[in-house]
C-alpha cells in the first residue's frame, strides 16, 4: 500500500501534479497530487524519511531531464512546487529531528548581479535533494557570504553569476570565505562560467546544471 502511494507521489513530483485541484498534467486531471499523496502516505504509516527519499529520487529524475533538455524551466518549476507541497507535510518531522537533512547549502548571486532564475533553480533542486538551503538572494556582498558561512559551520557554499562582467566578483568571495573558513567547500555556476574558470579562481567545483550541484554535494557526504 505504502509503496504504491510512494510511487504515485513520485510521479506527481516528476510531472508537476501539485494537488487535486491542479488540472495539470492533463493525464492526471482529477487525481490527487503531491499534497494529498504525502498526507495519505503519512497517515498510512509511511516513514517521513521514506517519503523524503522518494521525493529526492523524483527530483533527481527532473534534474536529469532538465540537464538533457527534455524539459525546460516551466516544467521544472511545476515539479518544484509539487515537491514544496509535499515537503510542507514533512516540515514538522524536520523540526523534531525525525528526518535529517543531508547538510546545509548556502547559495547566493554575487554582488553586482541581480539574476536569480538559475540560482533559484539550483536552490529548489538542492532542497529537493534533501539539503537545507539558505538562500542569500541576489547582489550578495562578500561580507554577507562570510557571515553566512560563519553562522552555519560545515555548510557548503554555492555562488552564481550570469554576466561576464560580474563573474569576476566571485573570486573575492572565495578568498574571503576561505580566509575565515578554509574547509568550506565552494561550487560556482552561471552561464558565462566554465570548469577552467572555476578552478582558476579557487572554487572547489563548477556546476553547469542544478544536477551537477547535487551530484557534487552528495560526494561531500559520501
Amino acid at each position: 500500500m505504502n509503496q504504491e502511494l510512494l510511487m504515485k507521489l513520485s510521479e506527481c513530483v516528476e510531472f508537476g501534479k501539485i494537488n487535486l485541484a491542479s488540472p495539470y498534467p492533463p493525464t492526471m486531471k482529477g487525481q490527487p497530487g503531491a499534497d494529498e499523496y504525502t498526507k495519505e502516505a503519512l497517515e498510512a504509516g509511511a516513514q517521513p524519511s521514506e517519503i523524503l527519499d522518494e521525493l529526492v529520487a523524483a527530483m533527481g529524475k527532473v534534474g536529469q531531464k532538465f540537464t538533457e533538455n527534455k524539459i525546460f524551466v516551466p516544467q521544472m518549476l511545476l515539479s518544484a512546487k509539487a515537491m514544496s507541497a509535499a515537503m510542507a507535510h514533512l516540515k514538522p518531522f524536520f523540526a523534531s529531528g525525525a528526518v535529517q537533512r543531508k547538510g546545509t547549502f548556502i547559495i547566493g548571486t554575487v554582488f553586482g548581479d541581480l539574476h536569480d532564475i538559475g540560482k533559484n533553480l539550483v536552490a529548489m533542486m538542492v532542497e529537493g535533494a534533501g539539503w537545507e538551503v539558505i538562500d542569500l538572494g541576489i547582489d550578495v556582498k562578500v561580507e554577507k557570504f562570510v557571515e553566512a558561512v560563519q553562522q552555519h559551520p560545515g555548510a557548503a557554499l554555492g555562488i552564481s553569476a550570469l554576466l561576464t562582467t560580474t563573474m569576476v566578483n566571485i573570486q573575492p568571495v572565495i578568498e574571503a570565505v576561505k580566509a575565515v573558513s578554509p574547509d568550506t567547500k565552494i561550487i560556482v555556476g552561471g552561464a558565462p562560467l566554465s570548469a577552467e574558470f572555476a578552478a582558476s579562481i579557487g572554487a572547489d567545483a563548477y556546476g553547469k546544471t542544478p544536477q551537477d550541484d547535487i551530484v557534487w554535494l552528495d560526494t561531500l557526504i559520501a
Binding site: 491542479s22 488540472p23 495539470y24 492533463p26 486531471k29 525546460f72 524551466v73 516551466p74 518549476l77 511545476l78 518544484a80 512546487k81 514544496s84 507541497a85 554582488f111 553586482g112 548581479d113 541581480l114 539574476h115 532564475i117 538559475g118 533559484n120 529548489m124 547582489d139 556582498k141 550570469l162 554576466l163 561576464t164 562582467t165 560580474t166 552561464a191 558565462p192 566554465s194
Partner: protein, 233 residues
C-alpha cells in the same frame, strides 16, 4: 542633433506588452497547450497588467569629443566613459551618443517576489519574464524614434549597448548616470551599480554618418540565458 535635455517617452503596458507567443517562445512553452498552468496564468495576468502605466524612458544626445577603441574609452561632453574595447569598436564613427534609460517600474519585480513567496514559482518566473521583455520592447520603441530623428538628418544609429554586457563593466553606470543627469525615469543606482527598479535598462547608442549596425556578439558569447540573445532569436 544634440539634445542636452532628456527626451522622455511614456507608455502604457498595452503599447509595449510582449505577445503571448513572444513570452511562450522565451519560456519554451507551447501556446496551444491551453491547460498548462503557465498558459492559464498568462491569459489571466496579461489583462491585469494593463493597469501598469509606469513604463518610461528616453535619452539625452550629447556630442562625442573622442573615441579610442584601443583604450576602450569614449569622451562625451568632455566626460570620459570607459566602455571597453568591444563596445568602443561598435560605436566607431559616432559623432553623437544617445545615452538612454528605460524602466518598466516596480510592479513586475514586486509581483514576482510576492508570487515566489507564495511558492508560485512558475507564475513568478512568468511575471519576471514579462517585465524583462516589456522594458526591452519599450526601449525598442524609443530606439526606433531615435532612428527616425537621426535619419531625418542623414545620420545612422548603432545598436544599443548596456553596462554589464559585451565586457562593459557595471561600474561605468555611475559615469553614465552622471552624464544623463536629471531625468524623470525615477531610476536610481545601488552601491553595486544595479538599477532600481530592477526592470530597467541603461546604455548608449552611437549616432553618426558612418555608424553601422552590428550583429550582437551572441555567436561568441557563452551567455545562453542573455535576454538580448533571446530577443535576437
Amino acid at each position: 542633433m544634440q539634445h542636452t535635455e532628456f527626451q522622455t517617452y511614456s507608455y502604457a503596458f498595452e503599447e509595449v506588452a510582449p505577445t503571448v507567443v513572444e513570452i511562450c517562445d522565451f519560456l519554451k512553452l507551447d501556446p496551444s497547450e491551453k491547460e498548462h498552468p503557465g498558459i492559464v496564468f498568462l491569459e489571466e495576468i496579461l489583462p491585469e497588467l494593463q493597469s501598469n502605466k509606469y513604463i518610461r524612458g528616453g535619452y539625452k544626445i550629447l556630442p562625442v569629443n573622442k573615441l579610442s577603441i584601443t583604450d576602450g574609452q569614449i569622451v562625451i561632453a568632455d566626460t570620459s566613459l570607459r566602455v571597453e574595447r568591444q563596445v568602443a569598436g561598435y560605436l566607431k564613427g559616432s559623432e553623437y551618443a544617445a545615452l538612454f534609460l528605460c524602466t518598466a517600474g516596480d510592479l513586475f519585480s514586486e509581483l514576482s517576489t510576492y508570487l515566489n513567496d507564495q511558492n508560485d514559482f512558475l507564475e513568478a518566473y512568468i511575471v519576471d519574464t514579462i517585465g524583462s521583455l516589456t522594458v526591452e520592447k519599450a526601449m525598442d520603441k524609443i530606439q526606433a524614434a531615435l532612428e527616425l530623428k537621426a535619419a531625418a538628418r542623414g545620420l545612422e544609429i548603432s545598436n544599443r549597448y548596456s553596462p554589464g554586457y559585451c565586457n562593459w563593466h557595471l561600474s561605468s553606470q555611475k559615469a553614465l548616470f552622471s552624464l544623463i543627469g536629471e531625468n524623470p525615469s525615477g531610476i536610481s543606482l545601488s552601491d553595486s551599480c544595479l538599477m532600481q527598479p530592477i526592470k530597467s535598462v541603461s546604455g548608449i547608442i552611437g549616432i553618426g554618418k558612418t555608424v553601422t549596425r552590428k550583429e550582437y556578439g551572441c555567436a561568441v558569447c557563452q551567455n545562453e540565458n542573455c535576454i538580448y540573445r533571446k530577443i535576437k532569436q
